[in-house]
């Protein structure tokens, strides 16, 4: 999407006469830096802030102020990561964790959205489901891990189940809220044009719920990643949570950070994918934000 062009006062006025106030006549051409910032601000400022954080970390790590046992340093973390990658160990951890997450998260999205839509649409179903939703949403899912392990063992299925339990509720509850906040004005339009219930659902309820569903999906990513790590801490033989746990127990701080960085990166990538999807389906929305 092209960047919107703001009317800055260095631009000629649309009517060709320019601003009447002489104080505004002063030509203020932006320098090359300002123009670059205007175009790539998000990327540049974001990278600069991350770069500065890493540089500060590295400086503190090298200064000897804090023992490397506690803090490590970016260069040590990268070195440890590269060594683990070369040995194939890292790929194995990533593969295991990503598999568990994908299984649990996709199952959660695939069930929570239709169930949420149904609960929001049928009031009696809501009455029936609401006690369970509220109770399970409020319960820390960590409390269920022993049960899940008892039922499913410590393999991939129990991990996927914990991810599922983490991601299901935010997605489902948000979807219900999306259906319930549908505009009665739009419903009346559909009814007036004699839309069937199925069409009303498809053409009014679904599109109005989309932002809520997407918000739920994004929340679900965070909850799902918590599920991966915590369930691997509880008992596993591979995976990023397992890596963090074993490296931490053996004082290999750099390896702990490798695991943390990879989980963070995974979360960012998933969020970015959803943000792209959101931009596609929600492209009609006018931009929101403070006045500039």
């Amino acid at each position: 999407m092209p960047e919107p062009i703001e009317h800055a006062d260095w631009m000629p006025a649309a009517d060709g006469h320019g601003p009447a106030d002489p104080a505004h006549r002063r030509p203020r051409h932006p320098g090359p830096v300002a123009r670059l910032l205007a175009r790539q601000g998000r990327l540049l400022i974001g990278s600069a802030s991350v770069g500065m954080f890493l540089a500060a970390w590295e400086a503190v790590g090298r200064s000897g102020l804090v023992s490397p046992l506690f803090l490590s340093s970016p260069s040590a973390v990268v070195a440890a990561g590269a060594a683990m990658w070369a040995s194939g160990e890292l790929m194995e951890h990533i593969r295991v964790s990503a598999g568990e997450f994908a299984l649990g998260y996709l199952a959660a999205a695939g069930t929570a959205i239709p169930i949420g839509l149904a609960i929001g649409w049928y009031r009696r179903l809501e009455y029936a489901a609401d006690p369970f939703l509220s109770a399970l949403y409020a319960t820390p899912r960590v409390a269920l891990i022993p049960l899940v392990v008892l039922w499913l063992g410590i393999g991939v299925w129990s991990k996927a189940a914990v991810v599922f339990l983490g991601a299901f509720f935010p997605i489902c509850i948000n979807t219900v809220a999306g259906v319930k906040t549908v505009s009665h004005v739009h419903v009346r339009v559909a009814r007036s044009f004699r839309a069937s219930d199925a069409r009303l659902f498809r053409t009014i309820v679904l599109p109005s719920s989309v932002p809520f569903v997407l918000a739920g999906l994004r929340l679900g990513i965070g909850r799902g990643l918590v599920g991966v790590v915590v369930s691997e801490l509880y008992g596993a033989s591979a995976g990023l949570g397992f890596l963090i746990a074993t490296a931490g127990a053996t004082f290999q701080t750099d390896k702990v950070f490798v695991g943390i960085a990879l989980i963070a990166a995974f979360g960012v990538v998933c969020n970015e994918i959803l943000a792209r999807a959101e931009a596609r389906v929600e492209g009609w929305r006018p931009p929101v934000g403070p006045a500039r």
Binding site: V185, H186, R188, V189, A190, R191, S192, F193, R194, A195, R199, T203, I204, P207, S208, W284, R285, P286
Partner: protein
């Protein structure tokens, strides 16, 4: 006034002894919005309904459309009892009520899609109506990118596109600025003359009713009943100069008097309460000033 005795064709749209009550469980009461309301609209007639604000005009329109079932009485179309799902009526809503995630053309096509017209055909028809309401070039815009007047044009086109015999319009121009409103009124008259639809047009603007309609029905305050019916015998096509004629002004004054005489009870009470509280406020003003 209802069924003709001479055996001629029945009126296109009739409201027969309509009554509508709403339960308000939250307030623990039952309000009567329509009470024994009877009126008839002829084929191709342009009927305007004026009434004090809150008198139940919108509810009447919803009952006529079939959106809301009446508590008593019935709605007849061509003398037959109207079904709730009849496709001969279409509504033009007060706030444009466009679907914000649909472009202009998709919004106009919405009513047709609801009637199971295939999407490509619906979109093709929508493009024709886009031109008819003067929105060429805005077909791919989203509602928030349109002005209030343009949104109302889309609202109108969406209703016209389903080719209803009866057009029910709920203060469609009330939210527009005076200039846009006059343009829209004139343009709507032009479109109406071409399509020969039966129109029921709800408004609170007396001059709008007199300028547009063949007949103006003045309603009482809530519960709404027919207070008086005025035949508007101004020649068509009309332009805005008719508003300056003596007849138009006299009529406007007359209707205004009718409406002010029947301010609904809650408004009278509201005014009384306002007076009381302002008196109170004046009494308290000086101590507060001292503090």
């Amino acid at each position: 006034m209802t069924a003709p005795v001479d055996g001629g064709p029945p009126p296109r749209l009739q409201a027969v002894h309509l009554g509508k009550e709403f339960e308000q469980p939250r307030l623990g009461r039952r309000i009567t919005v329509l009470d024994d309301l009877t009126l008839a609209v002829g084929r191709g007639e342009f009927l305007a309904l004026v009434g004090p604000s809150g008198c139940g005009k919108t509810t009447l329109l919803h009952v006529l459309d079939g959106l809301v079932p009446p508590t008593r009485g019935q709605v007849l179309i061509d003398g037959q009892r109207a079904s709730a799902l009849g496709r001969e009526r279409a509504m033009v809503f007060q706030d444009a009520a466009l679907l914000p995630w649909r472009t202009t053309v998709e919004n106009i096509a919405y009513g047709l899609e609801c009637l199971d017209v295939r999407r490509p055909d619906a979109l093709a028809a929508a493009r024709r109506w886009l031109t008819a309401v003067g929105l060429e070039g805005f077909g791919e815009h989203y509602p928030h990118e349109l002005s209030g007047g343009m949104q109302q044009r889309v609202n109108l086109a969406r209703a016209l596109a389903v080719e209803p015999a009866i057009l029910l319009m709920d203060e469609p121009f009330a939210s527009l600025d005076a200039q846009t409103r006059e343009t829209m009124q004139a343009e709507f008259l032009r479109i109406w003359a071409r399509t020969a639809k039966t129109v029921v047009f709800v408004t609170h603007m007396i001059s709008e009713a007199l300028y547009l309609a063949d007949r103006v029905v003045v309603l009482t305050g809530r519960p709404a009943r027919v207070q008086e019916t005025i035949a508007v015998e101004l020649p068509r096509p009309r332009d805005h100069s008719v508003r300056r004629t003596a007849w138009f002004r006299d009529c406007e004054d007359h209707v205004r008097e009718l409406l002010s005489a029947v301010a609904p009870p809650d408004r009278v009470r509201g005014a009384g309460a306002a007076e009381l509280s302002s008196g109170d406020g004046a009494g308290r003003a000086s101590p507060r000033g001292r503090a």
